[in-house]
Amino acid sequence: MFLTHKKKNKGQENEDTSSSETERPYGNFYYKDVAELTGAGGWTVLFNEKKSFLDPQARKILETPEDYRPSLRTALDFYSDEYKARAAEAFMACSMGTPFNATVKMLRYNKQEFWAKAVGRPIYGENNEIVGIQGVFQDIDEEKLKELSLETSVKVIESQNSRLFNFAHIVSHNLRSHASNLSLTLDLLKSIDDATEEEELKSSLYQISESLNETINHLNEIVTAQAQSLDDRRLLNFDHVLQSTLSSISRMIEDTQTEIYSDFSEVPEIRYIPSYMESIFLNLITNAIKYRHPDRSPVIDICSYYEDERVCLMVKDNGLGIDLEKHGNDLFNMYQTFHTGKESVGIGLFITKNQIETLQGSIHVESKVDEGTTFKITF
């Protein structure tokens, strides 16, 4: 019944176009052209006839073989696993009368994934009963991927922004503390006349100047750490970087009897900025040693591997660990130290995170107090 109805429609279409042909000298702008230009394919499912149809554009998008015969049974094969349940639900709801409009990940005949915008609606028969469903899906892979990469960029920029804010804040705070110590010292110098007191105050002037220099050195370190460009990427061998890092801190390793195990067999090399990689290794390893557990000598495991086609690096220690529920958000901030000790400065992880994110990577941490900490970098 529906098919005859459709035929009638087609007839009308033809009549329409023929009558207006003179007004369109550049030819007829038909459904087929629209479908081709927009990359939109149509499909129809008729319940009574138990038949499914895919139009030529839909077949082209899905890359189905010439003799492919669509059926309701295999319709879900064209949706990626994560969207199958949702697609089935949408089809069911549509057959009950609710149209759908969604962005989903679909699969071509060869199982290759692509993003699509899919809309569907019920088909009504003569007595207003639902006799089938029909819809259109449009290949929006290119646009969607751009959108996703924009989203990632926004996140990176947001986090860089918040770190910049943190940075500016700390700079202001630290410079202010030195300045205030300076003015307090001068204040005191003015108000006393005892010679020994005066000497002591003068020595505190030296101390202040020293701390001021130290702060400025930290700032320099951060600025130079961020001033590298992408062009400086080189093919690096993980093991070479590790060995050169270890030799630069061999004293520290010996004194603390640190054991270091590494396995770079899965991914031996990566293209990266050499100074960044050296600083990442140095910061994570020295951190693991600085915050070692008092009851055992430090053991550090380092390995590289692939996850979701991206190179990852894991650095795992058996140190003090850190309460991430309390400190999670602050861990990568500047001048945040969680353990007492002269060696704690609090700029290492700040720099590390900055360098990794500059190259679109990410760093995550897992930790248990008294058990140890694991850093995972995705490059």
Binding site: S172, S177, S180, L184, S191, S204, F338, H339
Partner: protein, 141 residues
């Protein structure tokens, strides 16, 4: 009786990680004879460890009349100290005046300080000599 020679208080306390600052404050207190004794803690955790037994009456040490609290400190910062300190249950009426003394001029910090009824005032470093003296005079009066 006059501002020049206030009656010194018995015990003051500084919670701050800046050694230079601590030395300077020690001098100020000695020179101006502002307090007879001085307690110094390098971070909130150390201070809390000392105060908790006193408040819970497990220890009869004297409680400081004035506490000068820094905000940015390692291990446990000033904010966490205030949170933890407020949480300690006590039947004892602890009489102390707590000042935040910080170099942070962040308006958010000033706002946050107002949320703690424990905090008498927020002083921005540098605090000059007369300002210091004024705090101690107020407390001994």
């Amino acid at each position: 009786m006059t501002n020049l020679s206030p009656t010194p208080i018995k015990l003051a306390c500084i919670i701050d990680d800046d050694d230079v600052y601590i030395n300077l404050i020690k001098k100020v207190i000695n020179i101006r004879k502002l307090s007879e004794n001085l307690l110094i803690f390098k971070n909130g955790r150390e201070a809390l460890r000392y105060f908790t037994p006193i408040i819970q009456e497990e220890d009869d040490k004297v409680f400081p009349e004035i506490i000068l609290l820094d905000l940015n400190m390692p291990v446990m910062d000033g904010w966490r100290f205030l949170e933890e300190f407020t949480k300690i249950k006590t039947g004892k009426d602890v009489k102390t005046t707590l000042y935040i003394v910080s170099s942070s001029i962040n308006p958010l910090d000033l706002e946050r300080a107002k949320e703690f009824s424990l905090v008498t005032d927020y002083l921005v470093k540098p605090v000059d000599l007369d300002e210091f003296e004024a705090i101690f005079v107020k407390s001994s009066a």
